[in-house]
Structure formats: C-alpha cells, structure tokens
Amino acid sequence: MEVLHSTTTTTWHQACTVEDIPADGGACVLIEGRQIAIFNFSRRNEWFATDNQCPHRHQMVLSRGIIGSQGEEPKVACPFHKKTFSLRDGSCLNDEQYSIATYPIEIRGGVVYVEV
C-alpha cells in the first residue's frame, strides 16, 4: 500500500489526550477509519505517530510494540516477529523490503494532534 501525503488532503486531528498514551509506550487511535499508533517516547521527550499495521503479516499491533533506540534512531518492534521500524521515517531497520507510514504529531495543551 503506497501512502502519499499531500498537504491538500491531510488535516490535523485531535487524537487523544497525553494521559491516554503510557510513558515510553504506545497506544492505538482510530482516526477516520484509520488505525494510527501513537508513541509517547518520554525518555527522549518525543512523540511519534505511525501506521498501527505491521506490513509483514498485516497485523494491527505496532502500538503494542516495545519502543527503543538503535544507535540514535528511535524505533518500535512488532510483537509478532520483531520487525523493527524507525519511528522517524518508518523504514524497517531489519528488513528493507518493508516500511510503514509516519504522521506529523503535535501536543498542545495536553491534547495529542495527528495530521492524517
């Protein structure tokens, strides 16, 4: 599935509150029928939004994955087969044939906004 972003068709959505996402973990939100994984990387003071689906076996589980770093790169590991994806650009770090989409994310007044 090719996901093309064009500024004309994306909108900022109110996704959830900051408290909905565990520190140094993730959770899934439903935005206009799409499953988006939100990660609160509090150790790095960064937030990330990606597809919730792992492209390997098409499972909706990435938000339940363990996040961490490889060198400087923030990443998430799929619980199923441990494919790991960069949270910055969505590239798969241990199998280059896969990648996931990432989304702009912002925190304002305790609310998490995602541009989808």
Partner: protein, 840 residues
C-alpha cells in the same frame, strides 16, 4: 664470508633446544655471529614433545621446528646426520664424524638425552625398542604389524604415550609395566594415579604396578617378560621408556666435568668447566638436576643467547609444572604437588564416577596456593598455576578454585587480574604484559596471529587456554569483543545485570537504564530487565514504568495470537479441577466466543479474546476462584500430575497433592524462561516428570527429584538430583535449584540448556544445591521464600485497578470499539483465526 669481527658459534645437537638457541640468537643479533650446527639425526630439528602425533598421522615434515631452508635463509650452516666426535679445546675446534673441522669462539652443547635402558638381561633381543626419535617410531611401527601383544616398561609420561602408540598401531594387548606403586610417580599422588589408571584401563591398557623386570625372555626375539616376584607376561614386543640419560659422552671425551650419574656440569650461567663451552637442555646438569622438559630447555637457550650478545643472565630454578593430555586424559601438576599437612592444608575433589581428581595444597594460613594435581579435568590448570606462581591471595573458599565458580563471584582471579609480569607462556617466556601489548597495540587478537608474532602457544601449547582468555579480556577492555552482553544498551550479561540491580536496589526500568545502561533501551533489554525485576522483587509487572517494557504477552497478561487477539489460560493446579470450575470456563468461553482446547499441561486454553474483553473475562474467572495461569510469562506453567495413590491401584504416594503444593508454591515466579514440572505417583511415570524442568517421582520411601529435563524440539531427560527424599527436603532442593537457575542463566535459556552449558554439569549442580560448596543455599532459599511470600494474582490486581484496566483497549480514543480487522473463520463448530496474508 668469515671476517675477524664475526663470532663463531658452533651448536652440537639439532634438537628442540638446539634449534631454539639458533632462533633466539639470530633474533637478537643476526650479522655478528657465524652459526654452525651439527645434528646426529638425519632429520632437522623436530618437535619431540608431540612425537606421538607421528602415529596419529602427522608427517615428519609437520613436526619440524623449521624447514631445512630456514637454516640457510638465516645464514646457518647445518650438518645433519653428522655428529661431532671430538672437541679440541686447545685449538677451539670440533671435528665431525665425516671429518669436518670447524673452529669456534663459543661452543654450545645441546646434545640432549637418550633413553635410559635398564641393565636387564635380554634387552638386545629383537622386538625391544626405545621411544625417543622418529627413527625409533619407524622401527616400532613396522615391527608392530606382526606383533599381537606389546608392553611398555615405564609408567611415566613418555611410557604412557608409548603404550597409547601401541594401541593405535593395532596391537591386541597393550601392557604398561611400572616399577613404582603408581603411574607417573613423579608428577601425581596415589589418588590421582588411581583415577588415571582407571581411565587408562577403560581405554584398553593393562597396567601392572610394583613390577621389577628381571629378564626378557625369548631366544633371538622377545617372547615375554619375567618379573622379580616370579610372575611372567608373554609379549612379542617391548618399548622401554624407563627414563632419560643425558648425552654427555662427548663432553667426557673432551674432559669437561660431568656428573657420575650423568649430565654435563654447568654453573648458573650454564657454562661448563670450560668457560667458552655452554651446555643447554637435557644434557646439562644445573642446580643439581636434569630438567627433562622443553620449557626450561628453551629458557636455557635464552640465557645463553643473551649472554653471547653481552647481557648478563643466569638460569634460575625453573618451575616444573606440567599439563598434558595422556590418551585423552588430562593430567597436570604444578608448584609443590606433594606438599603435606602440617605444612599446608590439602583440599581434594575425588570423583571416581567421572574420573576426575583434583588436589590443591593451600598454605597453612589459607592465603596462598602451594601446588596441586589435576587428573581427568585440567581446565583450571593455567589459572591455578598463575595463582600459585604469583602468590595471589586466595578467595575465602579456595575450593572454588577447583570446583569452578558459578552462581557467585568469579573464584580466584581472572586472567586479567594477574600482574603484568605473570609468565603466561613459559616456553617462550612471554609475560601477560607482553601479550596484552601485542593484542591491544598491534592488533594480534587471535591465537593464530599471536602464534606468528610472539610464538606463544607454539611450544607445549599448554598456555593456549590462558592466551585465549587474555585475548578476550583485552578485547573486552577495549570494548571490541561483545561477550554475552544483553544489547547495545547494556554492556552486561544477564547475571551481571541481576546482581547489579539487586545491589543497587533498582525497581524500575528507567532506574536500571540510568544506572547501568545507555541509550533508550530496546525490545531485547526491556523484557529482560522486566523479568529480572520480577525475579528479584516480585512487584506487579505492569506497575510503575514496567508495563511498556514487557513483551506483548506480559504486557496484556495473555498470549497474543494470529490476528492480534489473545488466549487465556487460568491456573488449574496439578490439573485438578472441580465440575463447577469447568462449567465456569465453558460459560466464559461461550460468552466471549472463544475457541477452547486442552493444553499439553493439563489446562484449558481459550483463544480469540479481544484485548478489551480480557479484563471482563478475568473478572468472571476470578469470581469463580481462578487465578492467572501465567501462560504468557517466562514463569512456571503447570505442574502436571498423574492421579497417584488416591485412586490409582499402583500409586505409592499422593502425587496430585504434591503437584498442587508445588504449583501453588512456584506460581507466578519469573525466570529466564518458562519452566514446567510434573509429579508422578509411581515409577510408571504417567506425569512424564522426567521431561520437565523439575520433576518428582514417588518412591516407596519418598520422592526422587529430577532436574533439567525438556520436551520441545530437543527432548532431554531430566537427571536425578536427589533420591528418596521427603517432601520438605524435595521442596527445599527445588527452591535452591530454581533460584540458582534464575540467578545465573542466560536470557531465554531453559533449565536443560542451562545445565548443559553449566561447567561441571550435574555434579557441579549437586555440589552447589545439595552439598552447598558455595555456601549459598541459605540465601537461595531465602530469596525463593521472598518470591513465594509476595505472590499475587496479576489479573486480580488489574481487574481491581482502574488505571491498569484502562490500558486494555484497542483504541484509546474509542475504548468500547474492538479492532474491526479481527476476523475469524469457523472450524468443527468453533472459531479459528483467519490466516494471515503471507504476501506483502
């Protein structure tokens, strides 16, 4: 070529030591010397230490110290097959058998030794050999083809090698005849000798001790041996290996001082009575003794070569510690192997079943190691030798040195703890400092590379394990070599992390990462730390910052399945369940549309639960008296049982009750991997306890405890840890075993693999958990009791805690909505997960 500034050096003897002298001299100063070497054998110098490998298939060329070209390339004149027959000390020249006359400024006698042949009637008969040169070996080899029974006189090192050679050559009977009351009398004591003897006998050697050979029977060729006690041994070939005799006849002819019992007398500088003549190796008598090993010979070569280039050196009393493999049996002795009380305290480990004997002699104050003996397992030799030589202060329990040290601090000192001047390779006189420099500064970080650059490990080879440790140690210091460390965020092994977390009393992942690690963690270290925290403190795995460090199964306290739904396994201790509880499971499964299946561990698994249904399901299960079954955790699964004496007509004990007790005791405890158990009520073993991590089988007198079993892809039977023990003892032993495993195993290692990798294996495990050689069982029991006392049902806590419960939803912004992508198909009136697309 000869100019007046050149110093002429003649070496008589082209054996290992004579060769080593040449090598050392030209390494020090190439141009100044003119070297001439005479050898008696037609071969150029070869490795006599490994002579027996000739029979094992090595060629004469393989054994060469250096090829013939090496001599000419280095400007050395070499005459082999041409022994020196006369020394004219007045004119300072030697004359060879072929009439060659060569002048010298310095003469080096490296004539070595010959086999000592005792004056027994009949030694001249056909079929009687010595074991000394390649030529001897050729003769033995061709004669052995027609021999059926062979004997060796001499139960020392070389004699046993010769006996092995006889076996290898296909002789039907190989006998060893020793005059003393034990084998290798100069190296090892009676007990060690006994172990060695049994090992050798099991390999097919027949050993005869206390035998003095009086006559070699036969007319022209040997037909048998006759002993002083009147007994006889019919053999058709004989190898005499009763010791060595220094080759001092040339020195005698030249009028040099020799000892009446053999040996060229030299001073500490290794000079003979003629100051321009030196003697080195086995022909030299220094400190009133002949050094019959290669390492001191090499040192002598070094001492003389140094003096020739103008450095004052003397030969100091040399350590005669040795380690060798005799027909596959390790034998080593070091320091003073025979020191006795009251001068020392002796610790021995004597395992006749495994053929291992270890003895260490510790100084009376318990501080230093005086010497020792190892038979059957000499792995600790190098460290012991270094500990002994460097007078390293011993740990409080010196027995750790021979029993190994797992489960606690490293016993003694690691190789990196040795002082820089510690001699690692005694053949080449290489110190730890030199080798470390070579590894770290010159990048020679393999044994092969070090062999080339320093010649370490090329002599006797005994230092190889220590050199390997050194390479690892240096590389580790440089961060070049990742031992079994966890990941890029933690430069520690699991065991180290466990110890450090305990010492520092850390309870959250971020504390652990801040204290011990770097970066932001990952999917490898997070669950590992989570497991270790649980093993140590047993707090709820989802509280503080711990939920997000758990693998998905632990994080949702259920097993993730295809499609992203979970399966639920309530605990059914011992496999015993009431009808009411069965009904509850049926009702729950029906209500939530779950597929049900009996597991291999006598439990019931319910599949296909949406993450948001999990707390609801558990609410009902807990209400009915169920607890978490921890099928999702690296923890105790089930204690399987057979029905036992309560119903079964064969049962001798109540296996179900004991299984329930054990399951209740160990439930919820986190370990490096899952672990399983079983209890059988009699020897028929219907609970298959021997395929479990720990298994118990009832006997008439009590219970037999087995540990380290495994089913799975590599089935392995558990091994007996204790027999006929009562329940309390059995439980105590399981406490210790499990805790020892939990504290020392690598991540994701089952007990079977752990035990297989555990040095010393089952006997070591027994020594630790039964005999308490490490003195840790009280701690292990205490630590286990803490885990038992702090048990809590994780699911009960989640169900009752709104904060935790909130995390069990698929969409945080629409918690009541389930994942719409989850789909099931039906099969045999139940559901199954829809197959996932395998094409991407």
């Amino acid at each position: 070529m000869s100019t007046s500034t050149e110093t002429r050096v003649v070496v008589i003897g082209n054996g290992m030591v004579g060769y080593k002298f040449c090598e050392k001299l030209i390494a020090k100063e190439k141009t100044h010397f003119r070297l001439t070497v005479f050898g008696e054998e037609s071969q150029v110098a070869y490795d006599r230490v490994h002579l027996s490998e000739y029979f094992a298939g090595k060629s004469a060329d393989d054994l060469l110290m250096a090829p013939r070209d090496w001599y000419s390339e280095n400007g050395i004149e070499l005459y082999t097959g041409d022994p020196v027959v006369d020394i004219d000390r007045e004119r300072k020249q030697v004359r060879s058998h072929h009439g060659l006359v060569v002048g010298y400024d310095y003469l080096i006698l490296a004539t070595g030794s010959g086999a000592f042949v005792p004056p027994v009637d009949g030694v001249e008969k056909d079929g009687v050999f010595v074991y000394r040169t390649l030529e001897d070996l050729d003769l033995i080899q061709s004669y052995a083809r027609k021999a059926r029974k062979g004997a060796v006189i001499g139960g020392g090192l070389l004699g046993l090698e010769a006996a092995k050679a006889l076996l290898d050559l296909g002789v039907e009977e190989a006998h060893v005849v020793e005059f003393a009351s034990r084998l290798m009398p100069r190296q090892i004591d009676d007990a060690g000798s006994g172990i060695l003897q049994r090992q050798l006998e099991s390999l097919g050697l027949q050993i005869h001790l206390n035998k003095s050979t009086q006559l070699i029977q036969g007319t022209d060729r040997i037909e048998g041996l006759q002993f002083a006690d009147g007994t006889e041994l019919p053999v058709d070939m004989l190898i005499i290996s009763a010791g060595i005799r220094p080759r001092d006849e040339l020195a005698k002819i030249a009028g040099l001082e020799t000892h009446p019992r053999g040996g060229i007398m030299v001073n500490d500088q290794l000079q003979t009575s003629d100051p321009s003549i030196f003697a080195i190796g086995e022909c030299a008598l220094v400190h009133q003794m002949i050094y019959g090993l290669v390492a001191p010979g090499y040192e002598m070569a070094e001492v003389v070569a140094s003096q020739l280039i103008g450095n004052a050196r003397s030969f100091k009393p040399f350590d005669m510690s040795t380690k060798l493999k005799l027909i596959g049996v390790d034998v080593a002795s070091f320091g003073n192997p025979f020191a006795q009380e009251p001068d020392c305290r002796t610790i021995t480990y004597d395992n006749k079943a495994k053929g291992v004997y270890k003895r260490i002699n510790v100084s009376s104050d318990g501080k230093t190691l005086l010497g020792g003996i190892l038979v059957g397992d000499a792995e600790q030799y190098n460290m012991l030798l270094q500990t002994c030589k460097n007078l390293t202060i011993l740990p409080p329990n010196p027995e750790d040195l021979i029993l190994g040290s797992r489960g606690g601090e490293e016993a003694g000192v690691g190789v990196m703890g040795l002082p820089d001047e510690a001699l690692i390779c005694s053949c080449e006189a290489l110190t730890k400092g030199q080798l470390c420099h070579e590894i770290s500064e010159n990048g020679q970080n393999t044994v092969e590379a070090l062999k080339k650059s320093t010649k370490a490990c090329t002599g006797c080879g005994g230092c190889t394990p220590l050199v390997k440790d050194l390479i690892q140690g240096v590389m580790k210091q440089q961060g070049l070599y990742v031992r079994n460390t966890i990941c890029e965020h933690f430069d520690y092994t699991r065991q180290e992390v466990l110890d450090l977390i305990k010492i520092n009393q850390l309870t959250t992942y971020n504390e652990v990462l801040n204290h011990l690690g770097k970066g932001d963690g990952c999917e490898t270290c997070k669950p590992l730390v989570g497991s270790v925290l649980a093993s140590l403190w047993n707090e709820n795995i989802l509280q503080k910052d711990r939920a997000v460090i758990q693998d998905s199964n632990d994080r949702y306290l259920a097993n993730i399945q295809k499609g992203g739904t979970y399966s639920v396994v309530p605990r059914i201790p011992g496999g015993e369940i009431t009808p009411d509880k069965l009904i509850t499971i049926g009702q729950v499964a029906k209500r939530y549309g779950l597929y049900t299946k009996i597991t291999g561990g006598q439990r019931i698994d319910m599949f296909g639960a949406h993450v948001s249904d999990l707390p609801l399901i558990w609410e009902e299960l807990i209400e009915a008296g169920f607890e978490s079954g921890h099928a999702y955790g690296k923890a105790l699964r089930t204690v399987k049982s057979c029905v036992g004496s309560t119903w079964c007509r064969f049962g001798v004990q109540d296996s179900v009750s004991f299984a329930i007790e054990l399951e209740e005791r160990y439930k919820g405890i986190r370990a490096p991997h899952k672990f399983k158990s079983g209890v059988s009520g009699c020897i028929r073993e219907c609970a298959e306890a021997q395929s479990k991590d720990f298994g118990v089988i009832a006997t008439e007198k009590g219970w037999n405890l087995y540990v380290g079993g495994n089913g799975g892809s590599k089935p392995q039977h558990a091994q007996l840890l204790a027999a006929d023990v009562d329940k309390e003892t059995c439980t105590r032993l399981i406490d210790r075993f499990l805790m020892f495993y939990i504290k020392t195993a690598d991540p994701l290692t089952r007990t079977a693999t752990w035990l297989n990798k555990l040095e010393g294996g089952m006997s070591y495990l027994k020594a630790v958990v039964v005999d308490d050689v490490l003195g840790i069982v009280a701690d292990l029991e205490k630590e286990m009791q803490l885990l038992v006392d702090t048990y809590h049902c994780e699911w009960k806590e989640v169900v009752e805690n709104p904060e935790l419960r909130k995390r069990f939803s698929h969409f945080v912004n629409v918690p009541e909505q389930k994942d719409p992508t989850v789909q099931f198909d039906s099969m045999r009136n139940q559901t199954k997960a829809r197959d996932w697309k395998t094409v991407s």
